[in-house]
């Protein structure tokens, strides 16, 4: 961490990184945003528990609007993370579930979510300290 020498990375280090979220024009940055955006993360998390219908998802992802959930699902479906299954019944029944790729993404996302939930006492203590030492 205290490496004073901020040089270019060794050439062989970054060599197989064809995609790089740090580069603003890289398409991987958009996918990262779909996955980690407020509603994207919660939608993937909810679907990792169950195949769900639209309204079930809406209840689970507390606070999401119909419009935002619909946009979120389209983006995740387009990225190949969510599969939309139209059961062609009457009344129509549409279900959403994770693809295998969506499952592996959700797994890493959930590991992050669980860490954050578990560390909230530490985070809240830090917020308390921070707010206490700054003028209002």
């Amino acid at each position: 961490m205290d490496d004073a020498t901020v040089t270019a990375p060794a050439p062989d280090e970054d060599i197989d990184l064809a995609y790089d979220v740090f580069a603003r024009s890289c398409p991987s940055r958009h996918t990262l945003e779909h996955v980690t955006g407020r509603w994207g993360a919660l939608t993937l998390g909810a679907l990792s528990e169950n195949t769900l219908r639209f309204n079930e998802l809406r209840r689970r992802v507390d606070g999401v609007s119909e419009k935002m959930l619909s946009q979120t699902l389209h983006a995740l479906e387009r990225d190949g993370l969510v599969h939309r299954e139209d059961r062609q019944t009457n009344p129509p029944r549409v279900e959403y579930r994770l693809t295998p790729l969506g499952e592996s993404v959700a797994e890493r996302l959930l590991s992050l979510i669980e860490l954050i939930e578990g560390k909230m006492p530490e985070v809240l203590a830090a917020q308390h300290r921070y707010d206490g030492r700054r003028p209002a």
Copy 2:
């Protein structure tokens, strides 16, 4: 997770599952958003490589504005994920680095980022299929 041995949590801490990102009023949802928001994720990722000064960070997080980077750093510092070190030199030299908590968060985030970068060919193929089967 359903541990029955929930006896005496420390007064200021809550039991493990007291925090739930799916609940809209849970403070963990805010922290998840700071960590996974567009600039939060890239800032944590950049700092996991090195201690950096503001302008170094700005260059690494390609596309971020001064204002957004500043807001992002404040939120991450307040959550106890980033430490801001003012070296009191002339000219002033302020450095940012991850706290131990920030390091463990960044580790899980990077594992997600690496997965996404590695799976981009699959994502782009899915996007191609999706765009092809929908009317323009």
